[in-house]
């Protein structure tokens, strides 16, 4: 499914490209967005270029509005492990588009494709316990909370706990 383009009612989700540099810089230098995402803000366009290169290498997608073609977020797999048929999903959305169902629309099509067309069996998402909006989103999509991982990562120079959520193929089919 990597490399594919997806269409939903309001969105086109297509592979990120080099021309997305300004949009990626805007997203990943936004303080509040990066606080919820758990990453140091990109400080310069050079950082953004390197970062975008990684995203393209990992075959992540741009979430774009069908009408205006504006890039409003990104979504992609990290830790994609064929051997154990599992992957982790990471995503973020521009703050001005929060709470409008765009992220749900994006995740739904990615999850559908993940379980319907690939041999994969388990999709994970890591979320801060304080990120209520994301927790609501994941639970609404059928993710199950498996546990609280204490002091699991250092992000923005702070030790952070994470909830680990997952959806497995048998959840998805029922």
């Amino acid at each position: 499914m990597k490399g594919q383009t997806f269409q939903t009612d309001r969105l086109i989700i297509r592979p990120l490209k080099e021309k997305d540099l300004p949009a990626v810089y805007e997203l990943f230098s936004h303080d509040r967005l990066m606080e919820t995402y758990g990453m140091n803000n990109l400080k310069t366009m050079d950082h953004a270029r390197d970062f975008l290169e990684e995203l393209i290498h990992d075959q992540e997608w741009a979430i774009t509005l069908k009408e205006t073609k504006e890039v409003i977020g990104t979504i992609g797999f990290v830790a994609y492990k064929d051997k154990h048929k599992r992957a982790e999903i990471a995503f973020e959305l521009k703050e001005s588009y929060w709470s409008l169902g765009y992220m749900k629309e994006s995740l739904q099509i990615i999850i559908d494709t993940f379980f319907q067309t690939s041999k994969m069996n388990r999709l994970e998402a890591y979320v801060y316990p304080r990120n209520k909006a994301c927790i609501h989103l994941l639970e609404g999509l059928g993710f199950t909370k498996e546990g609280l991982l204490r002091q699991y990562a250092v992000k923005r120079d702070k030790l952070e706990d994470y909830y680990l959520y997952s959806i497995i193929k048998s959840d998805y089919q029922t």
């Binding site: 051997k83 154990h84 048929k85 599992r86 069996n121 388990r122 199950t144 909370k145 498996e146 546990g147 609280l148 991982l149 204490r150 002091q151 699991y152 250092v154 030790l159 680990l164 997952s166 497995i168 193929k169």
Partner: protein, 202 residues
Amino acid sequence: MKLRQPILHTQHLDLRPIKLTDVDAVFEYAKDERVGPNAGWKPHTDKEESRSFIKFALQKRDFHQPGIYAIIYRKKNKMIGTIEIHSYKEFKGELGFVLHPKYWNKGFATEAAKAIIVYGFEVLGLRRLAYGHFLFNEPSKRVCEKLGFTYEGTLRNKYLQYNGDVIDEAIYSITSEDFFHHKIPWVMDFKKTLKVDYDLDS
């Protein structure tokens, strides 16, 4: 710079870096069908597999990993297993061990693990030490409960076993706060019996 790997002495055991000459001892338990599947690997059928494992183990410290310890049963001067902090990254790692079945149920896994936990927090400066066991592995569960790990959750279908079985994993952890704020009851007494020998630290 390599991470420190001092020799650790406990009441019954010596923990020292694994060596190529441990190959016979490793093969003796690695060929046992009760051992590998609990940790996700196929029993060894050829001594060369045990040799490759040790070679791999010896490389770990070159990749900024703490390295694998051999567990020596002092009374018999016999190498009976391995223990390590694997998946080490900055401030966290995960405890893993393998023990010869002949030496199960004698408290040796717990004794070795206690030494490694102290080493993890006091020498490596960990903030989080994780412990995972396949859900079916009851003995491993008992070890981690005795060690004072806190259960965090069960990861469904986390691993695919070499024979195609889908495996759930239970995850536990000890945080630096648990360790240093006296939430782990055995630490104080155990440290009186633990000797950490830096002299031979390579």
